[in-house]
């Protein structure tokens, strides 16, 4: 579960956005949609901690795994400088809470991604498409410069792209473009977006899954750093802290307490 993998390609695909493909056959074989890896961006004491990045896509045949991330802070900026052919240390696949992509044939699936929450939905979409599920994706971005993966989603189903500033696609938030109730929805993005999705009137009876983010230290369930409130029963509002890295990062929407 700890791998030293070779960077096969690494390039910028939008403002501060990078796509990194690594050779990691074992990871490619075992990873489920929604899972993530925990990356040591540099062998140094600073930055000290690993960075969690979702699995965007896997190529089981070639044994490669794709990541898309935003180089926003110290660690991801360093990561963005790692060259092709060099090795990267990562843990994974991590997370027991994954997107349900099995036995979904012929169902109507709604995938909703916000910004850097879009990448993990791609792997899920591909698995669903393979089974013949009908896919609609609503992909929201801040502006035209950070729109990613649109074409790849179009190959798998219907796609609506939104931008907050209206510089591309439809103007507004993803929630404004949810127009009918799906059988199942999967969502990943900033917390306020996930909350708005969970509370959306058209999604009250649909099954839904949300992928959450939280600051992590260990990434494997040992430190209790990355918890989120998860309700313990359908009936009342009682909740417990569950570890995002271990029980998540994907949780059933109805269990997530905001």
């Amino acid at each position: 579960m700890k791998h030293s993998v070779e960077v096969k390609s690494h390039k910028t695909i939008g403002q501060d956005l990078y796509e990194m493909i690594v050779i990691a056959p074992k990871l490619a074989q075992t990873a489920h949609p929604g899972q993530f890896v925990h990356i040591r961006v540099i062998d140094s004491l600073d930055p000290l901690l690993r960075r969690p990045i979702s699995i965007c896509d896997v190529d089981k045949k070639r044994g490669s795994v794709r990541f898309i991330y935003r180089a926003g802070g110290k660690g991801t900026k360093i990561l963005s400088k790692s060259k092709e052919m060099t090795k990267i240390d990562l843990l994974g696949p991590l997370g027991r809470g994954t997107f349900p992509t099995e036995n979904q044939a012929k169902r109507n699936m709604l995938l909703i991604g916000g910004g850097i929450g879009v990448p993990p939905l791609l792997y899920a979409a591909k698995e669903l498409a393979k089974q013949g599920a009908s896919i609609t994706a609503i992909l929201g971005f801040a502006n035209h410069q950070v729109v990613i993966l649109e074409d790849e989603f179009r190959e798998l189903g219907d796609v609506i792209v939104t931008t907050v500033d209206g510089s591309y696609g439809k103007q507004g938030f993803v929630t404004e473009y949810i127009t009918k109730e799906p059988d199942l929805y999967l969502a990943c993005g900033p917390k306020p977006m996930l909350q708005a999705i969970k509370n959306h009137e058209l999604l009250q009876t649909a099954n839904g899954y949300l992928s959450l983010e939280e600051h992590m230290a260990c990434g494997i369930g040992a430190c209790m750093g990355c918890v989120t409130k998860i309700s313990i029963s359908d009936e009342n509002s009682e909740w417990k802290y569950r570890k995002v890295c271990d029980c998540g990062p994907v949780f059933p929407a109805e269990r997530v307490v905001f």
Binding site: M1, D46, L48, D89, A217, C223, M224, G225, Y241
Partner: protein, 305 residues
């Protein structure tokens, strides 16, 4: 060729096959790391702080990265001593590595309650009394920063418990030496130090503290110089063994703590950086001894003085 060096250390109340143990709160109850390697390789295992009742812990974010370190404000989330007795400790029976249970409480009574309950356990080698947690209101830190309170809680726990007692000290004090002498006086069988330094970080974009709890405990390589200094001071001032903790990430770091007077060490934050940290450190330690032709690791203890 020289013989394989002996890594065993003797704490008096406990013999360890090597001086490496994961630190409390950084290793859960061992299960996660057992997926990476055989826990029997460790000198001992120190499990997450246990309180009399379940604790939910603090709000998130609980973790912030800092230069060569991190802050945490977990707030002692744990399932409570009953669950530890029923589920966690029995699982650890499959290993012959000694288990040290870290205990915490908000009041003297809570410390006593959890210590008492743990007397029922079958595989506890020692209790580590956490009088130094900075993340709980009215919590352990108050006990760990005052000689009288420190003495009292250690004495009471020692009286009630059937296990050897390790007092885990806070570095957030003016005079670590007098605290260590107080707990020795109170009957502690060993001291372990340091727990985390109280610190904080601010998010300049949100203009708010990074941690929901505002303050948290600083750990990792950044704190090593402070930890090492305190181990040096305390090991000169008490007769009981000292367990060194704070920022250890390499075999050389362990050697520094042993030379400063520690008889064993605990590894915390380094486990997050690399799940194999304890194992790698152990190997580096062995290589160090071989290179220097040191046959018994115990030769190093206190040697820099």
């Amino acid at each position: 060729m020289t013989l394989k060096p002996s890594l065993a250390v003797d704490l008096g109340f406990l013999q360890l096959k090597n001086p490496i143990m994961p630190a409390s709160g950084c290793y859960g109850f061992g299960k996660e790391y057992a997926q990476y390697y055989d826990l029997n390789k460790l000198g001992a295992i120190v499990v997450k702080a246990t309180t009399p009742h379940e604790r939910l812990g603090n709000s998130v974010p609980r973790i912030a990265e800092t230069p060569a370190g991190m802050l945490n404000a977990i707030g002692l989330q744990n399932p409570g001593v009953e669950v530890v007795l029923e589920k966690e400790l029995p699982w650890l029976k499959q290993y012959d590595t000694p288990v040290i249970v870290n205990i915490a409480g908000s009041t003297l009574e809570e410390y006593i309650e959890v210590a008492e309950k743990l007397n029922q356990a079958e595989n506890v080698a020692a209790l580590e009394v956490n009088i130094s947690c900075p993340n709980v209101k009215a919590g352990g830190l108050a006990f760990g920063t005052d000689c009288v309170m420190a003495e009292k809680v250690i004495r009471e726990v020692k009286n009630i418990s059937r296990y050897p007692i390790i007092a885990k000290l806070s570095p957030n004090v003016t005079d670590i030496v007098s605290i260590s002498q107080s707990v020795e006086q109170a009957g502690a069988d060993a001291v372990s130090l340091i727990n985390t330094l109280l610190g904080m970080a601010i998010d300049v974009h949100r203009q708010k503290p990074v941690l929901a709890n505002v303050m948290g405990g600083l750990s990792g390589p950044a704190v090593k110089p402070v930890a090492l200094r305190m181990v040096w001071q305390v090991s000169s001032a008490v007769k009981i063994p000292v367990i060194g903790i704070g920022g250890i990430t390499t075999g050389n770091d362990v050697v520094e703590f042993l030379l400063a007077g520690a008889s064993a060490v605990q590894i915390g934050t380094a486990n997050f950086v690399d799940p194999y940290a304890c194992i790698n450190i152990l190997q580096e330690l062995e290589e160090f001894l071989s290179t220097k032709s040191i046959t018994d690791i115990q030769e190093l203890i206190g040697k820099a003085k």
